[in-house]
Subunit: 243 residues, 2 copies
DNA sequence: CTAATAGTGTCTCTAAGACAGTATTCC
DNA sequence: GGAATACTGTCTTAGAGACACTATTAG
């Protein structure tokens, strides 16, 4: 089949076999106190009965970051993710049985996923607890190498919590230090000492900014917690180490 | 012009405009006590008078990592780099004026560059001090966005020195702790205390392995230094922090 | 001998972790 | 009042950095 591929000066067409480039996204959020990932179900073959990370082909005249932002909005209705960064590119031949596909994978972190069904596609989208998505069996079996991509993204997120302020991307503004601590506990899967956590966060200049206001205590009571805004820094120094 | 691009089932050809995928490499090494990068000169337009990072199109039926290994060997004759990892993918439209090119960038670290002219290409290759390569003017003006790629790679390398054992990739096996310290000093551009450095390295289990042997002192004299092999670990815990 | 490099000892300071104690709310 | 959550204080320990000191070589 003929296409409109133009062969530029100085390039031998046989040097670059047909390659499709996609941007796929691992959208992480915390719901019900558990780390969750956004998955979509694609009806058509060869996706039959399997789920996938949201994503799609890059358009002409858009950067990779723009493509990621576009896909994110198409899928979640979210205009801006507090965190959206490329983390790895996957290009094994045969990872997509139809043709050579090179996928630039992005990690997105959002505080809440609005209306999932607001996506422009008619595809079914769901927020899935990470443990179930990584299981590899049952309802949420992942297509292609998407299970590897998801695992890599979560490893990346766990590491970024130590050295960057990515945790603030999981919570709404303003937030309490308990909410911020719950982010670390959900992603790392381990409990942290509230007192020591507070001291570490507050002793890292620029991580969070006090508002002076306080939130109402929850239904269980307790002292009204102080509210904070995200800070301006992106790199934590000193880092917040895992035990 | 017609090509042999086949349109697979289920894909709309207009969804994936013609994209070429290349693997480009930032090959770092230390020579004359200074961090150096391998650059190649490409004669043909639009490279006229500018230098570039070594790299090329991916082949069918090879993984991205395999493409990187192949390019490295073509360019340096080195079969195996002690460190070779993908670090970022660049795909802005217009970054290559000829067509849409998505470049997966790799960071390679080698202890010594063998015969540079051993490359299969007839292109001229040179080891260039990083400071001159990053200057952006003079003899080694870089093509396209290669200056940005180089800067990102060096930032990455500086960060990896803190948390991984990448430093051992810069030195031959076996090595002395002074040689290892010179790696940190050259890449970070700052002097380190020899005594404290030794203690930190030896207190990180698995970073280096003592051989029991000693090297001859240099022409300036001094106590014969102990020789070490690279260790088995890849992640430094605790990390080796920069001041 | 001196100069240079390799390696050790020791002191101070900072940050992490354990954990007890205080403050303020809901029920 | 008791239970729960939000803080604060204090003690111990580990690691980083400064820097003095010892060991072994070349010239």
């Amino acid at each position: 089949m003929a296409t409109n591929v133009r062969i530029p000066v100085g390039y031998d067409p046989r040097s670059f076999p047909p390659v499709a480039v996609t941007v796929d996204m691992v959208v992480l959020t915390i719901a019900d106190g558990v780390l969750q990932v956004l998955l979509v179900e694609r009806g058509a073959e060869p996706f039959e009965g399997s789920w996938a990370l949201p994503g799609g082909f890059i358009h002409e005249d858009e950067t990779l970051d723009d493509a990621a932002r576009r896909e994110l909005e198409e899928e979640t209705g979210t205009q801006v993710a507090p965190y959206l960064q490329q983390f790895h590119t996957y290009g094994d031949p045969g990872r997509d049985p139809r043709m050579r596909v090179v996928t630039v994978a992005y990690l997105a972190v959002v505080p809440t996923v609005g209306d999932i069904s607001a996506g422009t596609d008619a595809r079914l989208a769901e927020l899935v607890p990470l443990t179930r998505a990584l299981k590899g069996t049952g309802r949420y079996r992942l297509a292609f190498d998407h299970r590897v991509i998801l695992r890599d993204a979560v490893d990346q997120a766990r590491a970024l919590l130590e050295t960057t302020s990515i945790a603030t991307a999981f919570v709404d503004d303003p937030f309490t230090l308990s909410e911020l601590r719950h982010v670390y506990e959900a992603v790392w899967g381990q409990a942290l000492d509230p007192g020591n956590f507070r001291r570490k966060v507050l002793s890292t200049p620029g991580f969070v900014v006090a508002t002076g206001r306080h939130a109402r205590p929850g239904p269980e009571g307790g002292k009204p917690p102080e509210l904070f805004h995200p800070g301006t820094i992106t790199r934590l120094d000193p880092a917040l180490h895992r035990a």
